[in-house]
Amino acid sequence: MPELDDELMERYQKGDENAFTLLVRRHQQPLVNFIARFINDRDSAEDLAQETFIRIFKAANRYKSEGAHFKTWMYHIASNLCKNELRNRGRRDRYRVDNVVNSGSDSDGDTEQIDLIASAPANPELQPEIALERKELRNAIQQAISELPEQYRLPLVLRDLQGLSYDEISEVLELRSGTTKSRINRARLMLKEKLKPFI
């Protein structure tokens, strides 16, 4: 049975460096996905994810398992870093273009191919059309997410892309449960309107 995050943190606090490596391996993919989806930039996402782990590494001595859970603590740090990054970009007035879809599509290319084979219609000529449609839809969704106001985008990504519970999201964002629920519903409604031409 895999060790819990808190147990790994305790081991690391006692000097076991392998425990920290295990934590990184466990959370690197969800963290990069979260940041990339939230800030809409894959390259910066790697950087910020690493920065998050460095912050965790530095603050490990102050971590207490009876307080926040490791996962919510990690997302809390990452969210703050993302907000700072977006604020700095706003100051520089240099917003990066959709990097996720262009370079990020490489990684899910295999998955896409498998999907296409599984759902291949009788007429093979239709295949590229379907692939194009899917890619367009994915681009549109990512674009729509990135256009949401930050206070709605953050809980939406945590809920619908990271699969956190409402309680966990409330803990990450330090919001009341009712506020979290209402923001997620509002974000989904906004997204529905933005995706009207596609759905």
């Binding site: 996905n33 690493q50 460095i54 997410i145 619908d160 989904r188």
Partner: protein, 196 residues
């Protein structure tokens, strides 16, 4: 339930977290309202589409780059481990806790207050004692006991009270040395009689 109210419950209905009474109201409204039916169907589809977005994977170099960055952090002076083992840092960390910080501030306030009230005289004497030698022109010395030296030396005293600029302006026939001292105090306002 109206359309706006129904819209507020889209997520809760989708995730099956509505209480029985609200569920009845919501489904009752949806049964009657075609617009809400369509909107709810689109809502479900868009949520599903978002949830089906592919996961973005980190690059194969993620771990090695991170390890390099961590090694750099550790090598730097005042790095993680160095800080963690420094006793003053550990002491400072204690005061990050509200209880300790509050106690520290209270001790500081009590120490300052205690020092202040334990003195025989206040730190800043509001009514300085008269000086035995009143004017310098008479060649007398200003009292220079350690107590009075600190506060009373910079003041110019005449006839057992503080020497104010208004005194001199109203008495133009002062001896030259006294007027000279006044000019040091406020020569911009005082009459200079053509000099200075």
């Amino acid at each position: 339930m109206n359309c706006l109210q129904a819209e507020e419950h889209f997520s809760a209905h989708l995730e099956d977290t509505l209480d029985y009474q609200t569920l009845q109201g919501f489904e009752g409204h949806l049964g009657e309202c075609e617009v809400c039916q369509q909107e709810y169907a689109r809502f479900q589809e868009s949520v599903k589409a978002v949830q089906e977005l592919p996961q973005i994977e980190p690059s194969p170099y993620f771990m090695s780059t991170l390890q390099q960055r961590l090694a750099t952090e550790q090598r730097e002076p005042g790095s993680v481990k160095a800080i963690a083992t420094t006793s003053w840092k550990q002491l400072l960390d204690l005061f990050r806790r509200p209880k300790w910080a509050f106690s520290g501030i209270m001790v500081l306030i009590l120490t300052v207050a205690g020092t202040y009230f334990y003195q025989e005289r206040p730190l800043f004497d509001q009514n300085p004692r008269p000086v035995s030698g009143t004017t310098m022109s008479q060649g007398e010395q200003i009292t220079t006991s350690p107590e009075t030296l600190r506060i009373e030396l910079p003041r110019f005293v005449r006839n057992s009270r503080q020497f104010a600029p208004s005194d001199v302006l109203s008495t133009p026939t002062q001896p030259m040395q006294q007027r000279y001292m006044l000019k040091q105090v406020s020569y911009t306002n005082a009459s200079t009689s053509g000099g200075l």
